[in-house]
Symmetry: C2
């Protein structure tokens, strides 16, 4: 089974990309498919930008800026500087020059009616990525954030411009009538030997994927191990607003609350050693060091999670 | 009259921009409008690119690369390098990083249904340009080049990719049914005290302007001085394929043949001292050094041309 084992992962950006890199470096190599959140996607300066897809592609192709975990290492910003300096452009979203190459190619493809799925697959192959990088949906399903201070904000307005500071009243996954589960996403789920949920933000990164019409029903119908990895370490997010959002939504800030939010979706949970122990009668759980601060630790976590889930299915 | 004198110029790129800079530096300053060729405009990498407008804007705002006469001085090319290196993009058209800022802003405006006229006017104002920079038309009127070797080529394919080497059989100005003379272009012509034709390529830069529906009739109806400046100096083009195209079209390579191609459009001609003397009974002509190798010479040519035409109208 190991040689052809198929692992399909639901993932957002930076945190998910770390796990993805661990999985991609496993020996023997599993057959990997990543179903990536596109709820953060937006149009900016006439460009179609897919932050989570880009983070995953840059990470798996080795181009990523290792300090920030997103963008391209040693990128310059001459275009953005020129926009600011010469045209007084309000630059609240970072656009590196090398990063712009991706946005330009993608935007051109979108304008030529190439699907996001086809564009992503072709660009990932060109960069030598063997895993399948699958946008959760070809239709746009923009996440918006309802706040008391500012009303309804587009995702990047909330996340980047406002630095996720406004308190969230509600998160909206704006599913269009046209949105359909793509065939490649369906196939990646139905053919998987195991499904993982990356340690990404459950409400901003994973929930948008689960909002794709038909995806949740399909997931629930599958009998393979479905394992989430805790996005909380020692009761807080490694990075980003997971804990803050949980507080604002009136939830207990705990791995248990995260696991409960995945009820019906997962049957296994890899918790972090630093979190308080909990039990849920419908959930198998294991405890590991989930901090992925080096390639070795990324690979170790990926290997341990897979070994563990294989074991309890055996 | 001098304080409010209105000069309207039909112009292409590099050569016309030199005259434009001379005119813009006249004292007292005339009220200037430039009707700019957009037959070279094209979509590339999903971007709307207007080479002649950009050359004029960069020249008048002082950003231009003085060596090439187009593009921005000291521009880098990190985006293009990334496209080539990472994505094997075939980069036959130079796209500087600072130049890309303009293309991005314009493309966004076009996608938002802003007219090229409005976008150009707004960006020129932002860059501190007092002259009106008027695209010849808001509709696209792409010039195409019929060649024996390659069949019909888009303009930039002929001009940049093939470096204007293929022999021209025919030049086509592809006027769409929707193309209309814009109100600002009409106004710039009807209100002008004098109309100049810049020393741009008559067939590739000026003829596309004259092909805008209604423009030629309007020009012919105006009784103000209409003066062309010779694009040939010493029997050859200062830069570019003017002489080569004349040969390929079976024309004598001479200022006289250029002037005759403007029959019905102009009534005055500023010839270069180095060209053979000629006479046409319908045309007033004067002879000057038209080489604009310094700002002083640009200003001198502009001043001399205006003084001369004012004189013979008095």
């Amino acid at each position: 089974m190991a040689m052809s084992e198929k692992i399909t992962v639901l993932t957002g950006g930076v945190g998910g990309a770390k796990l993805a890199l661990g999985l991609a470096n496993l020996q023997p190599p599993p057959q990997l498919a990543f179903i990536v959140n596109t709820g953060d996607d937006f149009w900016h300066l006439g460009l179609k930008i897919c932050p989570d897809i880009d983070t995953l592609i840059y990470t798996l192709s080795g181009a990523v800026d290792p300090r920030q975990g997103w963008g391209i290492a040693d990128d310059s910003a001459h275009v953005l500087d020129s926009l600011k300096r010469r045209y007084a452009f309000k630059a609240w979203f970072k656009l590196g020059d090398q990063d712009l190459a991706m946005h330009l190619l993608r935007t051109q493809a979108m304008r030529e009616q190439v699907s996001l799925t086809d564009f992503t697959s072709s660009i990932a192959r060109r960069l030598g990525i063997e895993a399948a990088i699958l946008p959760m949906c070809d239709a746009e399903i923009p996440t918006t954030i309802l706040t008391r201070e500012h009303g309804e904000l587009s995702f990047q307005d909330y996340f980047v411009k406002q630095r996720w500071q406004p308190a969230i009243q509600q998160i909206r996954y704006n599913v269009d009538k046209e949105a359909r589960l793509s065939e490649v996403v369906r196939e990646a789920l139905t053919s998987a030997d195991m499904i993982l949920i990356a340690p990404s933000n459950p409400w901003l990164s994973i929930a948008p994927i689960l909002a794709v019409p038909g995806l949740l029903d399909l997931l629930e119908s599958l009998s393979v191990p479905k394992v989430a990895i805790s996005p909380l370490v020692g009761g807080d997010a490694v990075k980003g607003p997971t804990a803050k959002i949980m507080r604002e939504m009136g939830l207990e800030v705990s791995a248990r609350a995260v696991a409960r939010s995945y009820a019906g979706v997962i049957d296994g949970f890899v918790d972090d050693l630093r979190n308080p122990v909990f039990q849920l009668d419908w959930l198998r759980a294991t405890r590991r060091d989930t901090l992925m601060t080096s390639l070795e630790r990324k690979v170790a976590l990926a290997r341990d999670a897979l070994d563990w889930a294989r074991g309890w299915r055996a």
